[in-house]
């Protein structure tokens, strides 16, 4: 991989961030509904002078280009302003919420790989059998299911009917572990707080399963077709003719090569999970960035929406950069 490619992609990241920031800024300013009016309510005691004072305090009385320049300047220095509704620094709020979104995305990816890869391998090895057809049928259902509905149905089964798992939130209030990384499962493990770990995992299970299932279906499809392609190649025939154990051929040779497209799928999945967190976090009242974005858009909280959306978008674009780099590291034939 050339340095020029890396520099080019990093510059692209900066430009994309700028365009995203500009888009978010413009769209929010064009959106009907004034945030200060919403904050002050319809109380008769509130005078125009109060509203003007508030607008001045929040910097909303400044010209648009000055507000935008201040926002972009804040992005560079990490100062994203103050939430209009919660009246707290935006960067602090994002810092609090980001680990919850990352924890859910990582868990969902794990779920999707744990389900998707073996299922795809089995379907490929038993191509056109009844098992293959059942797997592909379930796969289709997985791809067609709205994730929010699946989440609610899982809540109905595991929380309401069986009472096995909690349906909302990240952890019981009295079990929150000492913050090290912000990822409750990891923090509980690092501080060896087993009740907290158990509780955090129980809260994480349903959201991760919901978010991971659709991707498990995609992964199973890709692994299946990729395996079928690899299994027909000469080096696999050579492995058979050498008399290698079937397990070694499938796992050591075929699967290893068939998993290369997983980097792209994994990258796409991570990006979509961040974007899709808006839905899953709403279903399970998961206190992450997605939920924060929905609440801040509804409350016309300019500073918070801008900060949260730009952060999510930058993560999204950065993941695609990491995927490109990872691809060329794993497959030496790919040169940038």
């Amino acid at each position: 991989m050339s340095i020029a490619f890396l520099v080019h992609r990093m510059l692209q990241l900066v430009v994309v961030t700028f365009v995203i920031a500009l888009t978010v800024f413009v769209v929010l300013r064009l959106t009907p509904g004034d945030p200060v009016d919403m904050m002050m309510g319809r109380d008769d005691a509130v005078t125009q002078a109060d509203i003007d004072r508030k607008r001045r305090a929040l910097g909303l009385d400044r010209p648009m280009h000055v507000q935008f320049a201040s926002f972009v300047g804040g992005l560079v220095t990490g100062d994203l302003g103050t939430s209009l509704v919660l009246e707290r620094p935006v960067s602090g709020l994002l810092w609090e919420r980001l680990p919850a979104t990352i924890e859910l995305a990582v868990a969902a990816m794990l779920v999707s790989f744990i389900i998707g890869i073996p299922v795809g391998v089995v379907a490929a090895l038993r191509q056109n059998s009844l098992l293959d057809r059942v797997i592909m049928g379930l796969n289709f259902i997985g791809l067609s299911m709205p994730s929010f509905w699946q989440g609610i149905m899982l809540i109905l089964l595991f929380s309401v009917t069986l009472g096995w798992l909690p349906s909302l939130g990240r952890i019981a209030y009295d079990l929150v572990p000492v913050r090290i990384t912000g990822l409750y499962t990891l923090d509980a493990l690092l501080s060896w707080n087993l009740p907290a770990l158990q509780n955090a995992l129980a809260h994480l299970f349903l959201p991760a399963l919901t978010a991971g299932t659709a991707y498990a279906a995609i992964i199973a499809r890709v692994v299946r077709s990729s395996m079928l392609e690899v299994l027909r190649q000469d080096f696999i025939r050579t492995a058979w003719s050498k008399g290698l154990q079937p397990r070694r051929i499938v796992l050591g040779h075929a699967l290893r090569n068939a998993l290369i497209p997983m980097i792209t799928i994994g990258g796409l999945e991570a990006g979509s999970l961040l974007s899709g967190s808006v839905v899953i976090e709403t279903v399970f009242s998961w206190p992450g960035l997605g939920r924060l974005i929905v609440m801040s858009i509804q409350g016309r909280d300019y500073a918070l929406v801008q900060g949260a959306v730009v952060l999510l978008c930058v993560l999204y674009v950065a993941i695609s950069l990491i995927v490109d780099i990872a691809y060329s590291l794993v497959d030496p034939r790919v040169r940038w």
Binding site: I141, L143, S144, L156, V160, V278, C313
Partner: protein, 299 residues
């Protein structure tokens, strides 16, 4: 003088057996099932006022939260029960099909027209226009789609037309990329060269020859995007950024039902199942179309 355009059009018309492709499609049982289910939903949507047993917005608080008729407490008049305001769930579901299908079809038509048209132009003309359009598509795709859709819905406000517009703004690059790729291949083929040599105008070549030969790919992408558009509309309606309150939409019905999941599970179960069935049927048809047009793709 020989009309080059007419000759090329005749050659293009004969290109890979379209009729036999359709016959192949009807030969797949799963695709036929998908087509029938899709047709069922289309009939529901079109004839909703005739088929719905009640006005979907007429509530009767004395009959609120009644379960489906086969469960204890169910009423024969309300086949799958009533909601928290005593409105007939079946009638709401039937009218909900209108929103899902009209948004889905509207998005496919609009984003297909924009993305497909621009893809055709960019792929055929190449050069600066291709660079500009490709970059624009890349920018749009770099934005997490759902976040962009929520932001734009916040700006435009709820409504079916706005949903179509927003989902088309976020969806056109998918059509664009695919059509551009297909057209780049087609423009190098002999029939295009022949048409060009015979003096056909480039607009005529694009529309009468190239567009015709990439139409099957367009159709396959359109079905895939239709399913995704229905899911996206449902997702936005679930989050409260879809249709205005009072308009029955499956996504917002699931959202309301979630508040009653412990006592009235049917409120969220039924509309979600309808979304699943509709998207599944569209995907089955799409899969069948893909296999029918290119049997080598059959897994």
């Amino acid at each position: 003088m020989v009309d080059g355009t007419a000759i090329a059009a005749r050659v293009a018309r004969r290109a890979p057996g379209r009729r036999s492709s359709l016959r192949r499609l009807l030969g797949y049982p799963t695709s036929v099932f998908g087509l029938l289910v899709l047709l069922f939903f289309v009939v529901l949507a079109v004839f909703a006022p005739l088929l719905a047993p009640f006005d979907p917005n007429a509530g009767n608080l004395l009959r609120r939260l009644r379960p489906p008729m086969w469960l204890d407490g169910g009423l024969s008049a309300h086949l799958i029960g009533t909601d928290q305001l005593g409105r007939d769930l079946l009638s709401q579901m039937i009218f909900g099909a209108r929103v899902s299908l009209s948004v889905g079809v509207g998005v496919v038509l609009l984003s297909g027209l924009i993305g497909g048209g621009l893809g055709l132009v960019a792929g055929y003309l190449r050069g600066r226009i291709d660079t500009v359009l490709s970059r624009l598509a890349d920018w749009t795709l770099a934005f997490p789609f759902l976040i962009l859709a929520i932001l734009l819905m916040g700006l435009l406000g709820p409504g079916v037309a706005n949903l179509v517009l927003v989902l088309s703004i976020t969806g056109w690059p998918h059509f664009f990329r695919l059509m551009r790729g297909e057209v780049l291949v087609e423009r190098e083929k002999a029939y295009v060269e022949a048409a060009r040599a015979l003096g056909a105008h480039r607009v005529s070549i694009m529309l009468r020859h190239v567009a015709r030969n990439v139409f099957h790919t367009f159709l396959v992408v359109a079905t895939v995007r239709l399913g995704l558009a229905v899911l996206s509309e449902a997702g936005l309606s679930y989050l409260g950024f879809g249709v205005p309150p009072g308009v029955p939409a499956w996504g917002s019905m699931v959202s309301i039902g979630q508040d009653y999941v412990e006592t009235a599970w049917w409120l969220s179960a039924a509309p979600g199942l309808a979304i699943l069935l509709l998207v599944l049927s569209v995907n089955l048809v799409g899969e069948g179309l893909r296999d029918a047009f290119d049997p080598r793709m059959r897994p």
